[in-house]
Subunit: 228 residues, 2 copies
DNA sequence: CTAACATTGTTAAACTTTTAACAAAAAGGC
DNA sequence: GCCTTTTTGTTAAAAGTTTAACAATGTTAG
């Protein structure tokens, strides 16, 4: 039937050119929709169909993918399994990533429990807290250690990402300690802007900020409704 | 000493022009830094000082504020309390906003507990769940009702925002029910893109997506390091 | 095997956002 | 009170992002 010429994943990357942040932020969305399609056993999809589902233009989708290579075929579209695989690779979801979490409070426990991460190669290996009542607990099969053991633990385990779910007041100190131990990626939920060296990457999750954005948009709607 | 002419908050808004989303998203950040300064009893700040703290350009800060009015004074800067007040007003943080939360699981409980929201005028009035073991509980002084009572409750209470922390599989159905009851704002934590009418605003919190972005950035760094 | 069709990857134009520059105006020192 | 300094709000230029257009190329049906 169809045989597909398939030079596959051209090393067509515009190397040495920085991939725009706007593009990077859309990749997880593509990943999610492709996972859905894959699960529904859809074998192929065109840029226009996928873009319509996501709510963007086909142009943007193709432009975004072209930063990384050529994964589709003219007249046919993309194979879902193949494209999902490529996007996963680009996102770094194929390697196992070791994480530690600091601050076993409500939010910390929710995140540890969130199984989706594990499926995608993110493994929380240890939890740290400074509350003696919590230290020693096992949460979702992961032990909670005293925060004083952080440095020791990191010396002897391969950990790529530190997750901070302590109160805001402790977050900078925790970040400093992680950085001193050589951690290069921090996933921060405390509402403070962490100061870290340039070679450390911080992703800040702005839970509270998005509620304010919602509140503001609601208000704008109300104003518009009343004054025109 | 200084007396300040003070025509204050000019109704200078470029009305009928849509405020860029990029601007809206920065306002909560300004709010946070201004709150900090206010707490530290700093009385005045210039655009360049504040921008430096935040990590943006002074130009951008002034440009952003100019969408809403003129709040500063040449040769002096901004009064922290005044600007904080203005930003809060713009964000709609001065009115009381009633919320209901659906899905009293781990994440839901963390969010209910998160006191910062209450301080900013967001009040969770009721919780709904479909698990009979949870219905009847009181979480942080807020009662958990059976999900079947949702419509009844919303008929008789003034609620502006619905928070969805159910599993992804239930999220669309919950959203539909909220919309049918006239809710215009949805704060969604489930990893699905909710379909709602145009007059309903959904803010989607992408917790998982930001971890993927972190993972990708880490990988990019690694690649860069190895190939040049 | 051929021709009509579908759909990509890419180039170029349009649009949006950010940064720079500066005149206008108030502050603060002398 | 006058002069120098500071700093705003705004206008203009630069940079970045999105959308449109289309040639190239593989697909599919006859
Ligand atoms: N809960 C939410 O929905 C939510 C939303 C947005 C942001 N946040 C932020 O996430 C963080 C955690 O929130 P939470 O609701 O889970 O709070 P929490 O109080 O339930 O948990 C904090 C945990 O950190 C531990 N801790 C405190 N200081 C520590 C230290 N120096 N070292 C190690 N552990 C320490 C505490 O013992 C506790 O277990 C806070 O910064 C909060 O502002 C939470
Ligand atoms: N936990 C996290 O860190 C995290 C991170 C990102 C996204 N999320 C998303 O947030 C949501 C909640 O996650 P969680 O970890 O709290 O899960 P959870 O299983 O702990 O909680 C879900 C709650 O929803 C209730 N529920 C289920 N179906 C319902 C229905 N039809 N009506 C009303 N209530 C219903 C359940 O009884 C349960 O109490 C999920 O969609 C998850 O994907 C969670």
């Amino acid at each position: 039937m169809r045989k597909m010429g398939h030079e596959s994943g051209n090393i067509n990357q515009r190397r040495h050119q920085q991939i725009p942040l706007a593009v990077i932020k859309r990749l997880p969305i593509y990943h999610r929709y492709l996972s859905d399609l894959h699960q529904k056993e859809v074998a192929r999809i065109s840029s226009s169909e996928l873009a319509a589902k996501i709510g963007i233009t086909a142009s943007q989708l193709r432009q975004d993918l072209s930063w990384f290579g050529s994964f589709g075929q003219q007249g046919y579209g993309y194979r879902v399994d193949e494209l999902l695989q490529e996007v996963s690779r680009i996102l770094g979801l194929n390697q196992n990533i070791g994480m530690v979490l600091i601050g076993a409070g409500r939010l910390g426990r929710a995140i540890i429990h969130y199984a989706n991460f594990k499926r995608r190669g993110f493994h929380t290996k240890a939890i740290f807290d400074n509350n003696p009542d919590i230290v020693g607990e096992i949460i979702d099969e992961i032990p909670v250690y005293n925060i004083s053991e952080l440095e020791n633990y990191l010396k002897s385990h391969a950990i790529q990402i530190g997750v901070i779910t302590t109160p805001a007041s402790a977050a900078q100190e925790v970040a400093d300690r992680l950085v001193r131990c050589g951690i290069k990626g921090i996933w921060n939920f405390a509402p403070v802007s962490l100061k870290v060296p340039d070679d450390v990457i911080v992703e800040h999750v702005h839970i509270g900020e998005s509620l304010m954005v919602l509140s503001m948009k609601l208000q704008q709607r109300k104003e518009q409704a009343s004054d025109d």
